[in-house]
Amino acid sequence: MTAETVRAASVGRWARFGRRIPLHFVVIFLMVIWLIPTIGLLVNSFRPPEALTESGWWTAIFSPSQFTLNNYAHVLAQSNISAGFVNSLFISIPATVIPIMVAAFAAYAFAWMKFPGRDILFVVVVGLLVVPLQSTFIPILTLYGPKGLNIAGSFLAVWLAHTGYGLPFAIYLLRNFMGELPREVFESAAIDGASPVTSFFRLALPMTVPAIAALAIFQFLFVWNDLLVALIYIGAQNPDNAPLTIVVSNLVSSLGGGWQYLAAAAFVTMALPLAVFLALQRYFVRGIVGGSVKG
């Protein structure tokens, strides 16, 4: 390589960088906007409650002496916090796995099988997203009660409920992504003698991996952060099974206010969903699907 080509390459790189400055500017600007409230919450989670109403959180950055670990210490010192964490895991993992599998079968049927009444049924299924969960609590509690299944307060009760509540969105999202797959792939598989079961497991599922990863992130997040469903189906009946969200909400209300603990608790409880998000990031890589489809 001659000196000229090296120089030309480096000029090209700088010109490219120059063109990309607006891109970096916009991305970083949006990141800063999104971070400001989060940082505010983070800084306040390290401040004593009196300080919060006296001065803004940004002043603390310049006088770090007021920082304290008391809020975190108080949250983590709750006798049932580790039990709550374990319970949250017990609730969230099955309540993520079950609806995704059930939804994947249904989504495949909606996307690739023909049957009478399919469109109407699909509309009804997705329309159920609007049903206010509050209106389902009383009938379901009756069903879970001693006169019904007698499972109120158990993990099974919340697993089943989260599966039911999560399905409309899961089916909707997966049906959309499965429906976009090219017809030829399934047709050539059928010609080669593949059954729908084989097509589903060998083609449809692997090709919708980014959508399944996105769905897993959200289903896990919603179940992990859910207070309402846990409160109704576990709450009073069996405090031993209470997830982290119930432990945290007790912390706040029993102390009247006490929301500085809420800020600390928010960061404690956020860690795991964020880890799930980061772990599933590797399925959001360009070409993971494209490579298998010769379109």
């Binding site: 803004g56 059930v102 495949y108 509050q134 009383i138 992504f177 996105a214 956020m270």
Partner: protein, 325 residues
Amino acid sequence: MDPRLGTAVIVVLGVPAVLIGYIWLTERVLGLLGQRARPRLRPWLWLAPALAFLIVFLVYPSIGSLIRSFQNAAGTKFVGLDNYAWFFNDDATLIALKNSLIWLVVLTGLTVGLGLLIAVLVDRVRYETVAKSVIFVPLAISMVAASVIWTFMYDYQVPPNPQVGTLNAALGSAGIAPIAWVQISDFSLNSILLVIVMAWMWTGFCMVILSASLKGINPELLEAARVDGATERQVFRRITLPLMAPTIAVVMTTMVITALKAFDVVYVMTSGHFDTQVVAFQLIQELYNFGNPGRASAIGIVLLLAIVPVMAFNVRRFRAQEAIR
């Protein structure tokens, strides 16, 4: 060791095994049937587990709500369409309806617009994961904690007290008088300020799904267009955007429904005061505060009916998708 651990392991491994076994078994059963019965029966067997869950947890309670919506507060007698007549004539409800409409338009516009912008932009930078995590974090913060931090963003102190709210402090440093955010009663601005809180949380949701769709586009397709001389803008407008359109529609539909159901932010930040009431929070109040499940059920049914046009649009879209794939 915790005995529940065993149960959890059995569930996490066992349930998928049972479901896969179920599908495998249905195929065996279908194998015994004739060629013509098979494709007719198969979809129903694949749908059965999902439909069972949906019927128990959502359809059956909704039928209860429908019946309840025609009854009085105590549930002792049928009052015909009274609850619906109340909903469409009461002044407070009409304000809630107007605000819900604002939520629907502004929240959907902001989250889908910004989510798409961010998904497309971060796809082009090396620090994509960091940028996406930053946008995703608010969704992982609980709704209550998020509302608390935004209470501090919007906080207003009567001068000359020092402003501890972020926005007013920022205005102060620019020499502008503080504004009583969320308590301004003009132009429904308060509702929009609450929508911003929700948009801050939910943009990450739209971004993740739109990003999944973007990554699903065959790179060879884009490369071919570039080789043929298309500019980046043309590649985006003519190829990327049309290929993402179905997912954009899914995200928009989901956000419309999220906007209609949103009440937590209103509950924590204003309790519906200052002209910020929304239909979903009114449902909660009728149910828990005013002891009128009849009216609450009527509101729920109105919400269900309100999305019928959105769903009709979805069906048309799916039919079009099937025609071209």
